[in-house]
Amino acid sequence: MSSRMFQSVIMQMKEASNRLIGVIDGEGNVIAASEPSGLGDRWEDAAHRLNSANEMVTVTGGKTFKALTNWSARFDYAVFVDGEDDLAKSLCIMACVALNGAKTNYEEKHDRATFVKNIITDNILPGDIYIHAKELHFVTDVPRAVFLIRQVDKVDVAAMDVLQNMFAEKQQDFVISVNETDIVLVRQVQPGSDGKELQSVAKAIEETLKSELFIKTVIGIGTVANHIRELADSYKEAQTAIEVGKVFDTEKSVINYENLGLGRLIYQLPTTLCEIFLSEVFKKNSIDSLDQETLYTINKFFENNLNVSETSRKLFVHRNTLVYRLEKIKKITGLDLREFDHAIIFKVALMVKKYLDSREGPVRLG
């Protein structure tokens, strides 16, 4: 934030009052003042009082202070006015209103987070990215990961507070609210960071939000962007990860675009092609002729690597019962799930059906 911007507002206010008015930063440094002699002073005690105070205005050391609004639990900037009387208090509140407005305007134009938000939402021309990056002294070619944090079932505005405080390094991490439910974290990562590290960051976010606010989230992770211009793609990948996860990995809460596997392929297929595939696989009978119990048996059989003994144990049925069920499935569908080729066709067909159901509600084919 430019101290010149604060100084300009303060100088305008000087015309309305003879009192000393100024601004301190989070460390207690005086960065703007109506009397230039005070610039550069450091009031650590006042900064400490402001951080621990809950009151609207704080009075200490013969001065009245009020913090400017921000997302963090700690203040970034605060206005001060000389004196502890009611007039000082009123002036302080009025100066705060004026400076908050100026700050918002400034941030919209120059704030790095806004800049990043414009990039990920494709709200900036590619040529302008470089110009703005230069103006903001923004390093363009460091690896950054994009996490899309979506609140499900219930939304809590305090989620933004929690994330801003978890990732408080403002030069490297950007927490951006994109809509009612979605928050994006753009985080600078070490070169060569792998999916495991990103997963662990996502887990920490998920668990912190759960324990602090009792909110449930789904987190999509895009591929690491090595250049600032790739952030938009990474954001879209994070969105895709959540969408694909909603179809194929309903029990997962953290989904990495790089680990979508077959789901990613199927998700990109045209629905007509999927319908043709299902009709081709289930020539004899519809997949819908399989009841829930049979589908459960099939899923368990796949989970246990087509092992009849292991699956029957997990299903608490006799081996022969399972063999009978598999024969029945063969009769209905023409596919013998004990054979690898047939099993893989069936597995893909089940995924395709899930995808079609998610797109248009249950489909009946075959």
Binding site: V162, T208, E212
Partner: protein, 375 residues
Amino acid sequence: MSSVTMKHIYKKYAGGVIAVTDFNLDVEDKEFIILVGPSGCGKSTTLRMIAGLEEISEGELYIDGKLCNDVPPKERDIAMVFQNYALYPHMTVYENMSFGLKLRKTPKDEIKRRVEEAAQILEIEHLLDRKPAALSGGQRQRVALGRAIVRNPKVFLLDEPLSNLDAKLRTQMRSELTKLHKRLDTTFIYVTHDQTEAMTMGSRIVVMKDGIMQQVSTPQDLYQNPVNLFVATFIGSPSMNKLEGSKLTEKDGHTYITFGNENENATVQLPDEIGRKPAVLEHIGKEVVLGIRPEHIHDEDIYLKNYPEYKFTATVDNVEPLGAQTNLFLLIGDQQATAVVDPTTTAKMGDRIEVTFEADRVHLFDPETEKCIDL
């Protein structure tokens, strides 16, 4: 009062995955109960259902006798502690502990009182002005616990909170958590995949596998009387030896068991209190799995003299001296077994040695259902 009751709870996901099946449990007031099982067994899902973070597909959940299926998580009066706890890096310990209360607009004086009280319980009063970077792993863990304690919840839900710590710290924190439970005198529901944590901390343990509760009991009872092969091998370290393909026979009104393979085997008479149980008699002539705990196999002379009827010969495949005990890895025919013996043993790798076992402490399992047949 802070009891938790779960009746016929199911968790079914949209994709057809059933994470929890027919879960029934009564957690008593002030109990320290552990849910243990391998990853993917549904223990964390169960915990999340108690917290209200996961919808219950079927069944009923009661907290303090009140049906809570549709009660929002914030109104359940619970606190959660996770493995991947994140402390706010730029805040002091005091601010970290008070942040959640600030978000809930708790009055400042009340925040101060609660944080100081929690800090005293956790013995971290001297750290309140420090930032997380200046704390050790154990101290950070205590701060994470502190964030939960300041809420004064009825029930603490802990999801593998020690998994990120190194082995030494984990051991230390285990005992600290046990003490903390006593000090707070409230209900703890603790999820872990580590059977040692389960055995050392819980007043009762729930063993889970594939979303199904296998057994609920005290640590000692689970160890001594496992209901199935999974519980028998999951609880205990080194785990229980299972000699597959063992065969039960009957002669002169006694039951005998033969284990090993065709070339090398041993036949011993089972004590009648095991061998003559009706369920065991039903398996005469059939194959069973013989389960023997490693500490019940001995090579010491005194045991060889006391249990001569259970003697058999085995090949020493490896020797692992651990100071207080020595682990012998034995080959009985082509089957492997571990024996925990006295460190003075002279057995060496490749030796053929005589060993015996405490036959009154063995277990027999049906190889098909894996259920224990001698209970």
